[in-house]
């Protein structure tokens, strides 16, 4: 891997100026490397992070038929990685005009990484540096503990898709001025969940609190609680209990194991915790990538197209540009293209916002004709999409903006595939042009890890009890055994998983006679590396 030459770097700097004046915001420094096929071979399994820790699975062709991206939510083969400074990768024989296009694409990605709030937790440190430190730590551990380090990595990676990404994120987005924990507990939990008081009683308490603050100023809270204890003598005890319980709660399974696993807490096993921590942090770092794929690619495509066409340095290359650009951003006849979809949606939103369509005035219109001619000429389209790129993720983006107008405008439809048994051909057909169906189809193909929570009540006698909350899809059954084997190892005792299996009655056909599905609760138990399955 070597850096691009000075001439190309100058082109990049020119692109940065133009991108900045168009409104994109990103750090000054960037690094651009030329990569060869050999580099790619090493980088690809490490999600393009050159310093990521070594792991033998990276050297093996990984079977990806089942659940590809579900297993590998990081974005492999990304041109640019979210580091400080951002690092991007280039083929060494790109012509200048193509580099210009890619530079704009890359800059828009960097802008997205550094401004979208779902990436908030990645803003405060540089992953390459962190990863290098982790890599060295793992290498050292390997020299001490040999292959057991790899087992721990393997087992930790087995549950690294269950990390509490949103939980971590919400910690960072808390406001500065907050009430004390005691007050939060009193109003949110004690009054509403434990005592379950009437609304008027609740309002009285708020009133009492406000009054206390008014009278006693800074001491207001204290004097208020003095009153509370008189009325509810059990409050203090309840609060203490709540506090002590809260301290035992962990945001996700990996963190729970780090905090509470009897095995990991043994003196000689402390090193395993560091490994788990590395796997967890790395996983959380990559989480937003897959959850913003459509937006990120759409945003980058929007900008490379917009900025390239305005760039005065590469006049005369419009035709080759058009060819490459069409290859990237054309809507396929069947299939999905995140670049095309995201870019069209951004264009669509910009136009709509220019007309002021995201307003109450527009929404209350019920006449199609009026809607069509509605135009407030706000001129705020650009500003609006900048706001969207800051605050949305793929799900909220699609959910908020994919509407019938968008579908009609781009002639989108849900494509179906069915077997014509007479002629033995697969038929592709237009299944639906309804926005709701289209949105649902998109949601179905979005990344979504299963929700698996710890059940403290059922965790008895040293066993760990996991509960899979079913969301219309079962788990991949073949993977359950080995994943649970890993958890059992890390926990050091038996592990149970409660999940559901679908019992399908009858066969579904295209005529809409859907099969009848009933869900049956099943419990898997992994004990001493043996798996047992029982129906509940």
């Amino acid at each position: 891997m070597e850096l691009i030459d000075q001439k190309t770097k100058a082109i990049m700097e020119g692109c940065k100026e133009r991108a900045r004046s168009a409104g994109l915001r990103f750090g000054d420094e960037t690094l651009e490397y030329l990569v060869t096929n050999r580099d790619m071979l090493e980088l690809a399994p490490k999600m393009m992070i050159p310093t990521l820790y070594d792991y033998w699975v990276h050297d093996v062709e990984v079977l990806r038929e089942k659940g590809k991206y579900e297993l590998y939510p990081g974005n492999p083969y990304e041109t640019v990685i979210n580091t400080r400074p951002a690092i991007s990768f280039y083929n060494d024989n790109n012509p200048d005009w193509l580099n210009v296009m890619i530079f704009y694409h890359v800059l828009a990605h960097i802008d997205f990484f550094q401004n979208n709030l779902y990436f908030r937790h990645t803003w405060d440190y540089d992953l390459t540096g962190q990863a290098l430190a982790d890599k060295r730590l793992i290498a050292r551990l390997r020299s001490e503990h040999g292959r057991w380090v790899d087992y721990v990595i393997e087992f930790a990676r087995g549950i690294d898709n269950l990390v509490a990404f949103h939980g971590e994120l919400s910690q960072l987005h808390r406001g500065e001025t907050r009430c004390s924990a005691r007050l939060d507990f009193f109003f949110d939990i004690f009054l509403q969940q434990q005592r379950i008081v009437s609304t008027s009683e609740y309002m009285q308490q708020i009133e009492a609190y406000n009054q206390a603050c008014e009278e006693a100023g800074d001491m207001g809270e204290q004097s208020f609680f003095a009153g509370v204890v008189r009325k509810y003598p059990e409050f203090e005890a309840a609060f203490d209990r709540y506090e002590s319980e809260k301290s035992t709660q962990s945001p996700d399974l990996l963190q729970f194991l780090i905090d509470h696993s009897p095995l990991l807490n043994r003196e000689e096993n402390h090193w395993m915790k560091s490994v788990l921590q590395i796997v967890r942090t790395t996983s959380i770092y990559f989480q937003p990538q897959i959850r913003t794929k459509i937006m990120n690619e759409g945003w980058a495509s929007y900008w490379h197209e917009t900025l390239f066409l305005q760039d005065d340095r590469i006049r005369g290359h419009e035709i080759p540009f058009a060819r490459v650009n069409a290859g990237v951003t054309a809507m396929p006849r069947v299939g999905l293209n995140p670049y095309a979809l995201g870019m069209r949606l951004f264009y669509f939103i910009e136009k709509a916002a220019d007309r002021g369509c995201y307003s109450f005035a527009y929404r209350r219109l019920c006449n199609m004709e009026q809607k069509r001619h509605f135009d407030q000429k706000t001129g705020k389209g650009r500003e609006f999409i900048f706001d969207v790129r800051e605050n949305y993720s793929d799900f909220t983006f699609l959910n908020s903006f994919v509407d019938q107008d968008f579908i009609d405008h781009n002639q989108l439809f849900v494509a179906g595939k069915r077997l014509d048994e007479e002629r033995m051909v697969w038929q592709y057909y237009v299944k639906s042009r309804h926005a709701d169906d289209y949105r649902q189809m998109l949601f179905d193909s979005l990344y979504h890890p299963p929700k698996i929570v710890l059940d403290h009540e059922k965790s008895r006698e040293g066993a760990l009890y996991l509960n899979h909350i079913i969301e219309g899809k079962p788990l991949v059954a073949e993977y359950i055994a080995n994943t649970m084997l890993g958890i059992e190892f890390l926990w050091g005792g038996p592990v149970c998983l409660e999940t559901s299996e679908a019992v399908v009655k009858g066969e579904s056909d295209e005529k809409g006679l859907a099969a009848e599905i009933t869900w049956k609760r099943v419990r898997y138990q992994m004990k001493e590396r043996k798996l047992e399955r029982t129906f509940l």
């Binding site: 579900e70 990304e78 459509i294 999905l336 033995m424 059954a477």
Partner: protein, 453 residues
Amino acid sequence: MNRKQLYQRLKASGLTKRQQKIIAAEMDDCGDHSVPVPLTSLPPLADLYGPDDLDCLQDLRVNSTTFNVRTLDQLLERDRLRERDGFPRKIRIGRMVRPGRNTEGKVVVVPTTVEEKFIHDNRFNQQQQGEGSGGGSGQGEEGEVIGEQPVRPEGEGEGTGAGKGKGADHEMESNAYDLGRILTEKFQLPNLKEKGKKRSLTRYTYDLTDKNRGFGQILDKKATLRQVLQTNIGLENLSQSEPIDTTKLLIAPRDMVYRILSREKDYESQALVFFVRDYSGSMAGKATELVVTQHVLIYSWLLYQYAGQVETRFILHDTQAKEVEDFHTYYNSRVAGGTQVAAAYRMVNDLVQQEALDRDYNIYIFHGTDGDDWDREGRETIPELKRMLSYASRIGITIAEHSYGNAGNTEVQSYLKKSGLLEQAQDLLRLDNMSEDEDEDRLIEGIRKLISE
């Protein structure tokens, strides 16, 4: 006899409805058996996360021919250790074969693995929504069919030949011999029985058996002493009456007799393997892939077991049988046409008879088919099979059943069962039945079934 005539004849002797259907499906199949140019397959309907920047923008992909860092042996050793530590093995040996015309028997071994996690089963979703749905754009009313794709792809496309097409995989090259070794070690297949040492081969082992004067590896003392005495007698250095004074003996360099490493002919039984593949129209897609993959595995394994001494012949058949020269052609020929198993068996029998192969070789026959046969009752097939049993060391028939048929109910299977040959010649004839969707592990299991003692 061409397809039409055969059909007429079969029709005259009466056909069931089901058989009519099978024949009709292949009757008008006018494809040819040429070796296909790899095709790119259609994109999946709803794959949001497939496209990536490096590919889309810069056409940068992982080059498929690049060597991997770690050697296969290290990986397998790691796997062995896993087992010892009480964890299940994780490495699976991929099948990928690239039999080029020039590099015969070149097999690409791809170690594969999977990292298990709790993830949603998306296959489930597809089942529920009929055959799957995804995005699309452009003209067309709701319900309108906008395109078609044959279920049985034209030729086998990229499916069987080049593995994953795009070649976005890292892989390791090894030869068939290596694959065989791995199979033997990893899966512990039973060795084939040696059928007596029939004929000497031009194969050598090296041993310290020859004697040489002047130089060599080990001094043969007895022979040297004899030689020395002989020389000295010749020189009249020894008188018969007096006791021998060894210090006075003259020793010429040429008197030193050594044992020297020498080439020895080795005697070993040798094997001839017939690979017979059904390449009729109905074999399109997975069935063929499965059969060829299995044949590659067997081929590699035999190569290892018989240390390169295994000879192979390749027979393809639809309604007629044809012998092809190399594995490449055998492996890559397109499917088309009707099915008549008897034709292939007859060809094997004729070849064996004409060339008197059974005198010199252990003969193994592996036949891969989807179980369809126009000859429903095996009226022609069974006699040929019986003839075959008279000389073969083992006949292994693999049936890769189509997912749309009923399991265990194919023509070939039913007439084999009816004939009772499976029980009578249990030692010589084996049948393995699997669904065309099976994976590698099942294939290995299948081989075990076919060649176990």
